[in-house]
């Protein structure tokens, strides 16, 4: 050690080590976990609370991008000495209180210039949004039972939203929110019923999401917002539904219901379709009777009820006509007739009914009637084609019957001839 070259070498090594180690709390360039002494020690601990976070680092996006344990918790990640590594003077902050988490995450995620290094298009408004949310407002008032960043995204082993294993992947959001919102006992404290999760799972939106894997189908965050999670106000319901259901919203805006619902301070779409348990609408819903949606405001005999009855009748008429025509065309097709033209007409009729159902939102029987009339005209055409085909079948039978008669006469003539030559 007294040897000058060895001394110089040792000094050089120490200096480079000091220069290489960044100050605690700042981000390092992507490095290997082996250099991160936090994981190395924590993995070997018996206490699951302390060892589990270290086990999750392989799949964690922060670690993959080079933000390791020290990036959030501070301390000295290069030291193998626990007292040095977890020294408050080196910036070690230890575990975070529930209150502190949003600010902690926001210290990087709200810094646009900083996030630009990692994901140029990632939003940086999460913290600002969170502060407007019910969760954020309650947290600010001191409620530590509400969700913070880590409640939904996890703390260690954080996956990107696009990863199907992430708790905030579209198909999994409902169960993540459900961790609290399905607990009725917890929810009564906030005046929330607690059945929303169960109701949503009955809906067509949920079915589309998980069965058809259509990720564009709405889940909790689509209507309530993700970070700014708040139930839509009464006046904003039709805006929220209308972001996807634009055609229905446009028709609704043309109708007297728009002003009526605003005046009554009632949520528009929700009044007939529900908010969470949104089921596939049926034509039979239209009317003022039992299990029908118009009776909530209208009573039998008033203009609304009359309009409802007219629209209901128009739709029922069109649907029945289509069913009858389809059955007839099918029968003839099975008998071997070409019914392509009839199929085209029936497709058109189906489309007219779909358009009629959209027009229901205008609550104008004339507009609905326009479409159902088109449907009836198409079914009539298809019916005529089926009738023509049936006539063709009868014509063929007649022709063959005539040929049978001819053959029978030929047989008789032949028999007579045989008799005559054998006499």
């Amino acid at each position: 050690m007294r040897n000058p070259p060895t001394l110089a070498l040792t000094f050089a090594l120490a200096a480079s080590a000091a220069l290489a180690a960044p100050p605690a709390g700042t981000v390092r360039a992507p490095g290997k976990h082996a250099e991160d002494t936090c994981s190395a020690c924590h993995l070997a601990l018996d206490d699951a609370r302390l060892s589990t976070p270290a086990k999750l680092t392989d799949n964690d996006i922060h670690h993959q991008q080079g933000v390791t344990c020290a990036g959030c918790h501070g301390g000295d990640p290069t030291s193998e000495d626990a007292d040095v590594a977890m020294d408050a003077k080196k910036g070690f902050r230890g575990n975070f209180s529930h209150q502190a988490i949003p600010e902690m995450c926001g210290s990087c995620h709200s810094d646009a210039a900083f996030m630009l290094r990692y994901a140029p298009n990632i939003p940086t408004d999460q913290l600002a949004q969170y502060r407007t949310s019910k969760h954020g407002q309650a947290l600010a008032k001191g409620d530590t039972d509400v969700a913070v960043c880590t409640s939904c995204h996890g703390a260690h082993g954080v996956l990107p939203v696009s990863d199907a294993r992430s708790p905030v992947y579209p198909t999994r959001i409902v169960d993540t929110c459900g961790r609290c919102h399905a607990d009725a006992a917890l929810m009564t404290r906030y005046g929330i019923k607690g059945d929303e999760i169960a109701e949503y799972k009955q809906s067509v939106h949920y079915a589309t999401l998980v069965k058809k894997n259509d990720l564009s189908a709405p889940t909790c965050k689509s209507c309530h917002g993700a970070h700014g999670a708040t139930p839509p106000g009464i006046s904003s319901v039709s805006n929220v539904c209308g972001t996807c259901h634009l055609t229905q919203r446009e028709r609704f805006d043309l109708s007297p219901h728009k002003d009526a619902f605003a005046a009554l301070q009632q949520p528009a779409c929700e009044s007939c379709h529900g908010n969470h348990a949104i089921l596939h609408p049926e034509d039979t819903w239209i009317g003022v009777g039992d299990k029908q949606v118009c009776g909530g405001c209208h009573s039998a005999g008033d203009p609304g009820a009359t309009a409802a009855a007219a629209m209901s009748a128009a739709l029922a008429g069109a649907t029945t006509a289509i069913d009858t025509a389809e059955a007839r065309v099918d029968r003839v097709r099975k008998a071997g007739m070409l019914m392509d033209d009839a199929d085209v007409k029936l497709e058109g009729a189906h489309q007219s009914v779909v358009l009629a159902q959209v027009q229901i939102h205008t609550v104008d029987p004339a507009r609905v009637g326009e479409q159902t009339k088109a449907a009836l005209s198409d079914t009539a055409a298809a019916g005529k084609m089926a009738a023509d085909a049936e006539a063709e079948i009868r014509y063929r039978r007649t022709g063959l019957f005539i040929s049978l008669v001819v053959i029978a006469v030929a047989m008789v003539a032949l028999i007579l001839k045989v008799r005559s030559i054998e006499r």
């Binding site: 996807c244 392509d340 199929d343 040929s403 053959i407 030929a410 003539a413 032949l414």
Partner: protein
């Protein structure tokens, strides 16, 4: 054959011969007529299942679309503003309405629930969950042929 009814025997025999000849001839004719009609190919030479003459190029101005029929199903052939000809199934992947071309948006659009597809048939807005099935286009002179299975 002589005898009191010799003449009637003869005419009875020739009546029988006539009857036999006529009915056998009619039977033969009735059998051969369908065969003759059968062997002459019909107007539409083959089942329009895989390939169809969708449109005439001269009837497809730039930035326009036309619906054509593939058997019983609708197809849409469109000409973009720079002259390319493309064809897709016109059955909307949402609820099977027939789509149309919107020259103002340069999109394929479905009137039922406001679904939008781009000029590659890809679903870009609204409820449709999948792109439109693309077809192969062959332009022969003025004729635009569309084949299934692009």
């Amino acid at each position: 054959m002589s005898g009191p009814d010799g003449a009637s025997v003869l005419s009875r025999r020739s009546l029988l011969n006539w009857l036999l000849g006529t009915t056998l001839g009619a039977t033969l004719g009735a059998a051969l007529y369908p065969v003759f009609r059968f062997v002459i190919p019909p107007e539409v030479a083959e089942a329009p299942v895989n390939r169809v003459l969708a449109a005439k190029l001269s009837e497809l101005p730039l930035n326009s679309g036309k619906i054509f029929r593939f058997g019983a199903r609708p197809g849409i052939v469109l000409r973009t503003s720079d002259g390319a000809v493309r064809a897709f199934s016109a059955v909307c992947t949402h609820l099977n309405c027939t789509v149309q071309y919107r020259p103002d948006l340069q999109h394929i659009w479905c009137a039922c629930h406001n679904g939008h597809y781009d000029l590659q048939g890809k679903n870009i807005a609204g409820p449709p969950p999948r792109p439109l099935e693309a077809y192969k286009v062959d332009v022969k002179g003025d004729e635009v042929y569309v084949t299934k299975g692009a």
